[in-house]
Structure formats: C-alpha cells, structure tokens
Amino acid sequence: MWVWRLILLTLLWVAPAQADSAFRPFVPGSFAALPNEQPERPLAVVFWSITCAPCIEEMTLWREVRHRYPKARVVMVATDEPSDEPRARRILAERGLSGDAWIFAEAPARKLRFEVDPTWRGELPRSYFLDRAGRLLKVVTGTPDPAFLAAWGAPP
C-alpha cells in the first residue's frame, strides 16, 4: 500500500512543474477572438516581455486585479519569441500570474501588433481594456489607473 502513497506523492511532486500551464499561441485572429471566448466578462489583454523590467514590476498589480475583480478576465500575452516561453512561464509563475497566458507565435511580431492596434509601435507594458460587450474602452501604456480599473473590473 505504501507504494501507492509513494506514487501519489510523486504525482504531487511532478504536478507543480506543469502547473505553470503552457502558453497558448497568439496568432493572427487571436486578439479579435478573445472577447467571444468568455462573453460577458470585462477583458484586459496585457502585453509584456521578459525583456521589459516595468512589465515585470507591474505584475503584482495584475495579480491583485485578478484577485479583486474575479468577474473580469486578465489575459497575459508575452511578445517574446516562442523559444523564450520557459522563461516567461517561470516569471509568471513566480508572480502568481500563471494561467490564461499567451505568447506571440508568428513572426514578424509587428504583424501581430498591427492587427491588435495599427498605431502600437511595440512599447510595453501595453494593456487593452474591453467591456463586457467586447468594446474597446481604453488603451494604456504603462500602469493603469486604479479608479479606472475599479470601474472596468466591477461594472454595476
């Protein structure tokens, strides 16, 4: 019987390594499809990079947002190359932001950026806020304002 306990323990040991779940590939069409995946939820699409220090500093805020506004959906999209996914996963996992994470999966990156927003030159962090109806409310470069977050995240 002890063997089965040992197997169970081993499974628990292995499981966390996979808990920082795999990223979904962000490709042409991904941004437009996001609101329809979970309709009626306010949506924030947060673009970041492993090479962007302010993006990583800001992650405490996004973890707090997910916690405070459970009705809203916060999607983290890494604008790095697919080969950087392991490091991106580790960064998100360390900051409690695993899950609902994506990574740019088609080159060139500027094509994906253009589809999201033709005026976006790639500055990070960059977040796109949509309301429950999937309408774009606001685009923020840098840290979003708490009052706006409250209005967006917990709509009446």
Binding site: I7, R87, F114, R121, E123, G142, T143
Partner: protein, 406 residues
C-alpha cells in the same frame, strides 16, 4: 508489494526531474543557419551598422551570437571580406534598438563597440574591439570601464570626432543600483562616456554626463566642431519620458541638459524607441524622435540653430496608423533627409522626406524600398557630399540605397 505499481513508480521518478527541467532558465539560443556559420556574410544578418569610408563600405553585423565586420567596394552589392570580431558565440545585443556600432579613424583603424547581455536580466557590459589591418582581423575585445564597479552598460554609441578623438557613450545603471542598495529612489539610468586619444587602443575612465536617462532607448550622437552632441530619451520628474540634448563643452564633462520638446509622455514603460540626431553645421542640429505624449503622438522632427538652446516647433511626419517608427535623420549642408519605416499589416515600407532649405520646408514623402518580411531599422549615412539609406531586411539582405537628388 504490488508488481504493477513498481514500473509506474520508476517511470514517475524518472519523469519528474525532466518535467522540472522543462521550466528552463534563460532564453534558448537563437537558431543559426548552418551555412551562415560556415560562411558568414551580411546576407545572414538581422541588423547591420554601416560606415562609409571613401569608396569602401564597412558593415558591422551579427549572426549566431557573433559580431562580424564585412567590407564592400561597391556600396554593398558585394562583400569581399568578412572578419569575426567576437572570438566565440556570446549573447550580443543585436536588435533594432541596440546593435553593434562601427567607426573608422582617419588612419584606417576600425573600431567596433557592442553590448553583451549578462546573466542578470536587463543588464549588460560594453566591449570594444579594433582592427589595425584594414578589417582583416580584430584584436581581442576589451570591456569598457572598471570591472570592479558593479553596473550595467547598454545602448552604446560610438563616434570619431573630426580631430580623431574616439567617443563612446552608453546607458549605465550604476547610479540606479547604488540607490537601490541605499533604498532610495532613482529614476531611469544614467548617461556615461569614455574617450580615447589613441584610435581606441585605450579609453579614459568612464565619466557621467547625465542622470535619469531612459533605460532602454538608443542614443543619438553627432559632433559640433570637435565636440559631441548627444540626444536621448530622458526621464524628467516624475516619470516624463521626453527628449533631452547635451552639447558638450569638453570631451567628457557634462554640460547643461536642454529639453528638446515638451511632449508630456508620462509613462512607466519601455518605449524601446530612441531618437536620431544629425549635425549640419556648428550649432545647427536636426533631430527626429517618437513620442506617445499628451501633447503629440507619433514621429516628430525639430531643428535647433543655436546649439540646442532652443528648438523650432516640432513637425509631425509619418503615418501613425501604419506604425511609422524608428526615424533616421541626415544633413548634408542645407539638405536634410528624414527616413523611417511604415507597416500596413503585410508590407514594410521605407519612407523618405527631403528638405533643401535646412528643414524649413519639405517634399512629399516618397517610398524608397519595401519588404514583405522582417526588417531592421533604417539608418542614414553620408560622406559629406552624398547620402544613403542603409537597410537590412530578411528577404532582400543588405541594401545601401542612394538618396535621390531633387
């Protein structure tokens, strides 16, 4: 013991460390085209930095984490010689915003500077290498500055003044790191410089030029008579990332910092989008930059005719809805050129604006070239009489494009 359980258990025990390893540390090395390793040519490059020296074009470029310098006698159509600068594969910063730099001195010495990424994130060290045999080989690269000083150096920029003094400037994080140690706040990073009077053989100790530069944008460097003029994205209080210019009165001592334009871009973010500068004549500077500020958004041009004390009202250019980005600027006397790229979702276009009257009036924009795949930033270079747009693209390779005369 249950016989069936044992193989499962062994399998799990073997799998567990492998699963943990998959978490990975550090980015994977980029894929290298084997043909490029064996026979490196600029065709393999993603970014390239040109220098025109008479009829010769020199190109510094990277591939497979190595820095190379190639020589062309026909303005980039063919490269007959390539020398390796870095002895081994190293994590060289080689993206549009930070790339190896190249300069030539009057006696034919070639100097290359580049940033190596270090294990610590967002950190780097600046290295310099030289060739005294006409670019056939490069001496062992040397690190700039004192290794004992904990810091990070990135976004190096390199130039040779008319009198032959070599100037190196970069973004340095030692002041920010010291503040973090002392638990005080420090905005951004700092601008440092080091000079050489012996064609890059030795450099004087680094000196600080300015506090509070943006951490992650390329620098613009030019020479007014024999002294450097530097333009950079600054972090004004509290977090306003607008542009500043410094015209040095001495080779490596700070001078007053001038604000180029009050764009009011208040952000805690990485634009990765630095300015460009060209010096047309003593005291006459032409600048181009990108901003997402409250006052204005997009690409802008301005000139100063009094050594940076004042700037003309900024002129917007480029199509914002086509990602107009990374402007370059070049002056040949009263003729000024602005170049940048635009993107329509499929094709990247190299665009050009020209002025014949020192930047007061401008032509209609025209398209110089296009590409359907990945593209570097455009750079503009000149030899005093003629100008060229330098553009590295994945599909077409390297192109040095004549700027049209009117």
């Amino acid at each position: 013991m249950n016989r069936k359980a044992l193989p499962i258990l062994v399998g799990l025990l073997l799998a567990a460390p492998a699963a943990a390893q998959h978490g990975g540390h550090g980015p994977a090395a980029p894929k290298i085209d084997p043909a490029c390793l064996e026979n490196p040519t600029p065709r393999c490059a993603l970014v390239a930095t040109p220098v025109v020296d008479g009829r010769v074009l020199w190109l510094a470029w990277t591939e497979g984490q190595r820095v190379y310098v190639s020589r062309s006698a026909d303005r980039g159509r063919n490269f007959e010689r390539t020398a390796r600068v870095t002895p081994t594969a190293l994590p060289v910063d080689a993206n549009g915003e930070n790339r190896p730099k190249l300069a030539a001195t009057a006696d034919g010495t070639l100097i290359v500077s580049y940033t190596l990424k270090t294990a610590k994130p967002f950190a780097g060290t600046v290295w310099v290498a030289r060739s005294t045999d006409g670019g056939r080989s490069f001496e062992t690269p040397r690190r700039i500055g004192d290794e004992a000083v904990p810091t990070s150096q990135r976004f190096d920029v390199l130039g040779v003044s008319p009198s032959g003094k070599v100037h190196l400037a970069w973004i340095d994080k030692r002041d920010g790191q010291a503040a973090a140690q002392a638990k005080t706040r420090y905005r951004g990073a700092a601008l440092y410089t080091a000079t050489s009077d012996d064609q890059g053989q030795t450099f004087a100790p680094p000196r600080k030029l300015a506090d509070h530069s943006c951490e992650c944008c390329r620098l613009g460097l030019g020479f007014d008579t024999d002294l450097p003029v530097i333009v950079w994205r600054h972090v004004f209080e509290p977090n306003r990332r607008d542009h500043a210019l410094m015209r040095l009165a001495e080779p490596d001592r700070p001078a007053p910092l001038r604000e180029v334009s009050r764009d009011d871009w208040m952000i805690d973010a990485c634009p990765h989008h630095g300015p460009a500068l060209t010096v047309a004549a003593p005291g006459v500077y032409h600048l181009a930059w990108y901003t997402g500020g409250v006052a204005r958004q997009g690409l802008f041009y301005a000139r100063s005719e009094d050594g940076g004390r004042s700037f003309a009202a900024p002129m917007g250019f480029g199509a914002n809805r086509r990602q107009a980005a990374h402007p370059a600027v070049l002056a040949l006397g009263p003729r000024v050129a602005l170049a940048w790229t635009e993107f329509d979702g499929a094709v990247t276009t190299l665009r050009l604006l020209r002025s014949a009257d020192g930047g007061r009036t401008w032509s209609e924009p025209l398209t110089l070239a296009t590409t359907a795949e990945a593209a570097d930033h455009v750079l503009l270079i000149g030899d005093g009489a003629r100008g060229w747009a330098s553009w590295q693209t994945r599909a077409e390779g390297y192109r040095l494009i004549d700027l049209p005369d009117d």
